[in-house]
């Protein structure tokens, strides 16, 4: 049964012994996912070990982060993360910032992949995680869980966006299997041409755009 992370206030624990045979893998995943990347990024489907929820430069894991919709993807991307770190009345960006961001769609064939759903309480119990916060709170703890799950056969982790309520995120970890399951990315538009995103920035997030 899915859990709402905001209601699940348990203290995160570190992974102990994760028995691969006992893990409950997610069976039902949408095939289409979104990606938001800067136009100068090396490629929309690059696996990187830059500092993020499950990856960091010293980690052996390289991850590709995807979102269930274009708005979730924006908030989980560099510009969204930066805006999120600002005080509410300093959320000012330029038109160029949004023109520089590209939205992509990618189809994923999950048949051969083992994906762990960190929002599923049964799945959490199956690996000994006491709370969904193991994957959503302290990044240092989330990274330890990612390493343990990958060692136990996981190729990806599904988790709720902490920045966009109702949005889901998917971290895929680099492997031959994950690369093979990705379709060619389809460029949808630049973020400045996304009416849903602009309405969201205007009305929900009170972002201001300066014409530069």
């Amino acid at each position: 049964m899915p859990v709402d992370p905001s209601l699940d206030a348990g203290k995160p624990n570190l992974p102990d012994h994760v028995n691969p045979a006992g893990i409950r893998w997610e069976q039902s995943l949408p095939a289409t996912w979104w990606r938001n990347s800067h136009k100068r990024a090396s490629g929309p489907l690059s696996f990187t070990n830059t500092v993020s929820r499950f990856s960091e430069p010293t980690s052996t894991l390289k991850a590709l982060y995807l979102g269930s919709d274009s708005i979730t993807c924006f908030w989980e991307s560099g510009l969204g993360r930066d805006l999120n770190s600002r005080m509410p009345d300093d959320r000012v960006i330029t038109e160029g910032d949004l023109l520089d961001r590209l939205e992509w769609l990618v189809n994923i064939d999950f048949k051969e992949l083992k994906i762990f759903n960190s929002a599923d309480s049964t799945a959490l119990r199956s690996v000994g995680a006491r709370t969904a916060a193991c994957f959503t709170a302290d990044y240092a703890i989330a990274r330890r869980w990612a390493v343990a799950l990958v060692a136990a056969g996981a190729q990806g982790i599904l988790y709720p966006s902490v920045r966009q309520h109702s949005g889901m995120c998917l971290a895929l970890f680099e492997s031959r299997a994950t690369i093979a399951c990705l379709s060619a990315p389809q460029k949808v538009r630049v973020s400045y041409n996304n009416p849903d995103l602009l309405a969201h920035l205007l009305l929900r997030e009170r972002v201001i755009i300066i014409a530069a």
Binding site: S85, R91, T94, P195, D196, L201, L202, I210
Partner: protein, 188 residues
């Protein structure tokens, strides 16, 4: 019988036609300051039912930019002193104002152009004595657009206890790497 509905701009009414509904929304948005959160929340809920479309992009962009001038003034205030080309050339010991211009083009100096003002303006914080701070070209390599870079630098941030990166790195140069990493993340 089809009826022509004409919007009275002084007394907006929500009407049945969804397209006209949206026109009313944007008329109302133009009348309210969005900092009045209730209004924004009301229309956010409205637009979740009547999802915006591509034809609404111009109206949305205009509304997003409505407070842009005010925001630019806040950024300028946080930026501090601005120097003309001649002034910065003198401070850096250059013989002509062409050199700051060349450094602007090479993204080694941050320069602004302002409406109704001739020439470039250079934020003075870029200078450490008579030299350009090392991190200016590094920042501009990541965020080349001047207003984008200034907005990034001057925004007050929760994890910096309400301070901006600009304040922090000017006070404590050891924090420059943190700022540059954040700029890396910004453009990822």
């Amino acid at each position: 019988m089809a009826e022509n509905v004409e919007l009275d701009s002084s007394v907006p009414n929500l009407v049945a036609d969804p397209n006209l509904d949206k026109q009313v929304v944007f008329q109302l948005l133009s009348k309210f300051n969005l900092s009045a959160g209730d209004v924004a929340q009301l229309f956010a809920a409205y637009l979740e039912i009547h999802r915006p479309k591509e034809v609404d992009l111009t109206s949305l962009r205009s509304a997003l930019k409505r407070r842009g001038t005010e925001a630019q003034n806040r950024i300028l205030e946080a930026t501090g002193d601005l120097l003309t080309s001649e002034e910065i050339a003198a401070r850096l010991g250059y013989s002509s104002r062409q050199t700051p211009h060349n450094k602007k083009v090479k993204r080694q100096l941050l320069a602004l152009s302002l409406p109704n003002r001739k020439g470039d303006f250079f934020p003075a914080f870029q200078l450490d004595g008579c030299a350009i701070r090392d991190w200016i070209p590094e920042l501009l390599q990541r965020i080349p657009e001047s207003w984008g870079a200034l907005s990034f630098l001057t925004a007050r941030r929760e994890q910096l206890n309400g301070e901006s990166f600009l304040h922090v790195v000017l006070r404590d140069p050891s924090k420059v790497r943190d700022m540059i990493e954040a700029a890396d993340d910004y453009a990822s």
